[in-house]
């Protein structure tokens, strides 16, 4: 028998409105028929829709790690509200009558089984089951690298001409030229550079705060400069390498716009097996530079104590059909964890995951892995910030002996050596959490672990941290999401 919780069904839904619509179907009693198979691995039913005939929907848990939702409705959202509604009805305790598995689903199950069998046979026969990394067409790749180099030249020429004329002279015409260059870079396989140039356009486009934005614009220009320099060096070296191999050590490939494939990561050995992860914080924001919504989760890998990052990009145009990630409160048990090249918080991905409820022992590594000396922690942070292409907002677990306030009311965290770090909201994140500290109980502000995100403010010369989550014993206070 399958065990489901409402939270789990929520997590399957693409977005909040899908949840609402699905629950609405249950409330309106739109389900004409609710059935389950004898072994309880399949739920199926019929739901009245706007059409003449009912929609036949089902949820197949024959593989509990990867439930399959099917429905005869024409919705492009997967799972659709009917399949989700079926699950909510199940969670809500509606009676599901036992019935035979419908023919079409039995046929589909059979097909899937055959597929699996074939795979197993291949493994047994010693064949490589993983989809092979595509054989690289070297001459084409060379051409691509040439184009990328040309693109970098184009970007450099434009950036330099902008600087020669001075930021004081930029106007709507400059903005138009930037946008044209963004388009041109699209032909050069340089999505990363394209994004950074678009980010520059966003900064310049904000005319109301131009004076305050000059520092950020200048930072962005130096970043582009670094990207061009490092990118060119990397590409030239790659061109001279007879293998034309990808660089799995640094983030330069991603900066230039390479989208890592799981098979590539596996090939470079960037994969851990049987890992347990706990999500400590979740953020979602609108990245105007990428023209995508970004859902970021910060996770603790229990064994290694490292903080990883899951990133889901949802392009504006397709955001309706891509799952909006959500906060995750259970423990994720991942059989294959793929790690991207990166810094302190490496991006991770997985394809299959099962979850189990979080118990207080699970949080022990959180406290054990928190940095107890701020001097050491800050040194690590600064070391990363120094790199112009490094992640400028590292996230870390810090042990906090106590939280105090300055005369002006600013919050400060202290370690056991009474070293302190100022808490401040990260500007680029756009979410305020510091004011919430005054709502947290006194006890939870002492001798606890705090997940923070760092940011260096060039204008004030300050390195501050934004509190994301407070973990006191087994009690988690998520200040963000």
């Amino acid at each position: 028998m399958i065990e489901l919780t409402e939270g789990y069904v929520d997590s399957l839904a693409l977005n909040a409105s899908a949840i609402k619509n699905a629950q609405g179907l249950v409330k309106k009693r739109s389900f004409v028929q609710l059935n389950k198979s004898q072994d309880g691995t399949l739920l199926f039913g019929e739901c009245a829709g706007s059409g003449k005939s009912n929609y036949a929907c089902s949820a197949d848990f024959i593989e509990p790690e990867k439930p399959v939702m099917r429905c005869s409705c024409p919705s492009r959202q997967f799972p659709c509200k009917h399949a989700l509604g079926l699950l909510y009805a199940y969670v809500g305790g509606e009676t599901f009558e036992q019935a035979n598995v419908p023919e079409d689903i039995a046929a589909k199950r059979e097909k899937a089984e055959k597929r699996e069998q074939k795979k197993a046979e291949q493994v047994a026969a010693g064949e490589d089951t993983k989809p092979k990394v595509k054989k690289v067409n070297k001459s084409a790749l060379k051409k691509k690298i040439q184009a990328q180099l040309e693109g970098l030249d184009l970007l450099e020429m434009f950036a330099l001409s902008l600087i020669r004329g001075g930021l004081g002279t930029v106007d709507s015409k400059t903005l138009k030229t930037i946008k044209e260059h963004v388009k041109q870079l699209g032909n050069c396989y340089l999505t990363g550079a394209q994004t950074e140039l678009r980010r520059l356009a966003v900064l310049i486009g904000d005319e109301d705060h131009r004076e305050a934005a000059y520092t950020s614009i200048m930072e962005q220009l130096t970043l582009i400069h670094a990207l061009i320099k490092k990118g060119r060096a990397h590409l030239t070296a790659k061109l001279n390498d007879p293998e034309l191999k990808l660089d799995s050590e640094s983030t330069i490939e991603e900066w230039l716009g390479h989208a890592w494939q799981l098979s590539e990561l596996k090939e470079f050995g960037l994969m851990s097996e049987q890992v347990e992860l706990i999500q400590l914080a979740f953020i979602s924001y609108d990245d105007k530079g990428r023209q995508e919504y970004v859902d970021e989760g910060y996770w603790l890998e229990k064994e290694s104590g490292k903080i990883h990052r899951t990133v889901q990009y949802r392009p504006y145009k397709a955001s309706k059909y891509i799952k909006e990630e959500d906060s995750f409160f259970d423990v994720a048990v991942v059989s294959e964890l793929y790690l991207y090249p990166g810094d302190m918080n490496r991006r991770v991905r997985w394809e299959k995951m099962i979850h189990r409820p979080l118990v207080s022992q699970d949080l022990e590594p959180v406290h054990a892995n928190a940095h107890r000396s701020y001097a050491d922690a800050v040194k690590l942070v600064k070391n990363q910030l120094k790199n112009p292409l490094g992640d400028h907002n590292p996230v870390m677990l810090l042990h906090v002996a106590e939280v105090r306030q300055t005369e002006q009311g600013q919050f400060v965290i202290m370690d056991e050596a009474r070293q302190h770090v100022l808490l401040n909201d990260v500007f680029s994140l756009g979410h305020k959490t510091v004011p919430l500290l005054s709502h947290v109980s006194e006890a939870n502000l002492r001798d606890m672990t705090m997940l923070v995100m760092f940011e260096h403010d060039q204008d004030s010369g300050r390195l501050a941290a934004q509190p994301l989550t407070i973990i006191k014993g087994a009690d988690i206070t998520r200040l963000l999401y």
């Binding site: 001075g166 910030l385 105090r404 060039q458």
Partner: protein, 614 residues
């Protein structure tokens, strides 16, 4: 030391980025800084590198292979990297313990749930109210992260949302919300602070009385109004309220009158009456209407009596008369929904002196009297109503309804149709016709009403329930018990179609003849003719086939609304022989009406098939 120098350099580099790198050649400010960097560079290589960078930027273009912009970018990149390693994490000054206002809230909501509510509370646009209301009902505001947004939403431009937050959401936090609001509360502020005060007073209870009192006495007008509302709950603040009722500002006085009405003590109602009967009548009116107090009612009756006595004095002066009427009208408004012996005596007198007041055109006064007498429903009240009815048919409905309750069926008929025991009868034929028309209308208003209800409609494709407004006639049994048999003949004579349908009874030949006659030649003016006809035929208990035939004919010849409770019922009984005729009327219908007809037609088809098989 060196950090300050680097910051200074950063400012200079930033300046050149803004001005343009072409102007950097020989920049004297950078030139001035160069020696310091060179000096520091002897000890630290990074300063040496920076010094080289500066030197390159200010050097003339021709001496370098790189362009000015490239040199500036190199310097900028190096500098910003260096600065990032020098960020300070410490703060100056004394550190103190945190000033926390902890509470019992949690942080258990997930992003997707939280974000939607946060967005609704912080943006503008439609649909936000529902989201916030649903979130409140789902207890989502127990999440700490919504608290600051809920407080901020007190200032929402959409006032319904701000009201919801003020009246329901924030008070639900209880006393723990108070310190959060007091922190930013300003008694001299506007609407936002009035709302804050309301929440503080409601959530904080009596502990907040001092604050509320202060607000009532020295706050801004809006804050005052909010405070006065709260003071009404406490007896000890009555003197303050009495004092505030003499404030200069109208809104403050109005609020105070409400508070006094709520208090209801003798000094409070005396002051309220003083204001109402004096110059501040308009502002005190609503509070007076709300004041549910017998002594206050007596005061109002006395006052109205005095005002009415003025009538003879101001008879000549039109202006004064109008002013007097508006005062009388306000008294009537304040007396509405009240009942007492004093009111009865006063109105009795008003009716007796009908001629005196009617000359001013004060019909509202008599309308009020007639409605009041009907509500009393006593014999003596009925006779007073007859007095009015005799003078104007306008009061016939009240008198008739009152008589219907008090007289026997035959007495009622005799009085209204045969004029038994009536002193003044209609004199001309025209007058009689007018009277009869008024009578029919009065009876219709009792017998035929409407009802708006949900009905289950299994035939509908989208949804299974429908709100239907339908005609309701009082049950046939009630008619035969409470009404004289002669009415039906009288209605037929008057050709009062609606009433004939309601009063129709089996075996009444004239009625049957009347209705079947109308089937052939439907009344054009009658509203919902077909629906009423179906009901009439049912009451008549005509043969099923006659009724079905009539229904079909009605659907063919009139604008028959099939989504009517009775018509629907009949349609479901219609035998399969009507299939073709039914299909023929499809084009006259659309949407749900058509769905119903299609459903009926389908049913007929299956019935016919079954019969064939049998």
């Amino acid at each position: 030391m060196s950090t300050a120098l680097l910051q200074e350099l950063h400012q200079e580099v930033r300046r050149i980025y803004i001005a343009g790198s072409d102007l950097a050649t020989g920049d004297f400010r950078l030139k001035r800084m160069l020696p310091q960097f060179e000096q520091l560079g002897e000890r630290a290589p990074v300063f040496k590198k920076l010094a080289e960078g500066i030197a390159a930027v200010i050097a003339p273009e021709s001496q370098e292979t790189r362009t000015s912009a490239e040199k500036l970018q190199d310097l900028g990149l190096l500098l910003s990297s260096v600065l990032r390693t020098l960020g300070t994490t410490s703060v100056e000054g004394e550190l103190r313990d945190t000033a926390n206002l902890p509470h019992s809230l949690t942080t258990n909501l997930s992003f997707r749930k939280l974000a939607a509510v946060k967005e609704a509370l912080t943006t503008t646009g439609s649909g936000r109210y529902e989201i916030v209301r649903e979130a409140f009902e789902a207890k989502m505001f127990d999440d700490m992260r919504l608290l600051p947004h809920a407080i901020a939403a007190l200032n929402d431009p959409y006032s319904e949302l701000a009201d919801l937050v003020e009246k329901k959401i924030l008070p639900s936090y209880g006393p723990q919300i108070v310190p959060h609001l007091i922190a930013t509360y300003d008694a001299s502020g506007g609407r936002l602070h009035a709302r804050k005060l309301h929440v503080i007073a409601v959530a904080g209870g009596a502990d907040m009385n001092e604050l509320v009192l202060e607000a009532a006495q020295s706050g801004s007008d809006e804050v005052k109004v909010s405070a006065i509302e709260r003071l009404a709950d406490y007896e000890q603040y009555e003197p303050v309220l009495l004092e505030l009722s003499r404030e200069r500002k109208k809104t403050v006085r109005e609020a105070t009158y409400y508070a006094l009405a709520k208090r209801g003590s003798s000094p409070a109602i005396t002051r309220l009456y003083e204001a109402f009967s004096g110059k501040d009548m308009d502002n005190a009116l609503e509070a007076a209407c709300k004041c549910d107090n017998a002594d206050f009612t007596a005061m109002l009756v006395n006052g109205l009596e005095l005002e009415l006595k003025q009538a003879s004095v101001v008879m000549e002066d039109k202006k004064k008369r109008e002013a007097l009427w508006s005062r009388i009208y306000n008294f009537l408004k304040a007396l509405l929904y009240r009942q007492s012996d004093e009111i009865y005596t006063l109105l009795e007198d008003v009716i007796t002196r009908y001629e005196c007041y009617v000359q001013f055109g004060w019909t509202d006064l008599f309308d009020y009297a007639a409605d009041y007498m009907e509500k009393c429903g006593t014999k003596s009240a009925m006779y007073k109503l007859y007095e009015l009815e005799r003078r104007d048919n306008r009061y016939l409905p009240q008198a008739f309804r009152c008589s219907h309750r008090l007289l026997s069926p035959s007495q009622l008929y005799d009085r209204y149709v045969e004029f038994v025991d009536v002193d003044v009868k209609p004199r001309s034929k025209k007058e009689l016709e007018k009277y009869q028309k008024a009578l029919v209308e009065a009876i219709e208003s009792i017998v035929v009403t409407r009802e708006y209800n949900t009905h289950s409609v299994p035939w509908m494709k989208s949804g299974s329930e429908l709100w239907i407004s339908s005609i309701v006639m009082i049950p046939a049994e009630q008619i035969s018990d409470e009404w004289d048999d002669r009415w039906l003949d009288w209605f037929i004579e008057r050709r009062a179609f609606d009433l004939v349908c309601a009063f129709a009874r089996p075996g009444h030949a004239a009625a049957e003849e009347f209705l079947t006659g109308l089937l052939v030649k439907p009344l054009k003016q009658s509203y919902e003719f077909a629906e009423k006809m179906v009901r009439g035929l049912l009451r008549m208990k005509v043969d099923d086939h006659v009724r079905w035939e009539a229904l079909m004919t009605l659907m063919e010849t009139t604008r028959c609304d099939v989504i009517d409770v009775e018509v629907m019922e009949q349609l479901h009984q219609l035998p399969a022989t009507y299939y073709e005729r039914l299909v023929a009327v499809f084009p006259k219908h659309r949407h749900s009406s058509l769905e119903l007809l299609e459903y009926v037609a389908d049913r007929m088809k299956t019935d016919a098939n079954l019969e064939e098989k049998a």
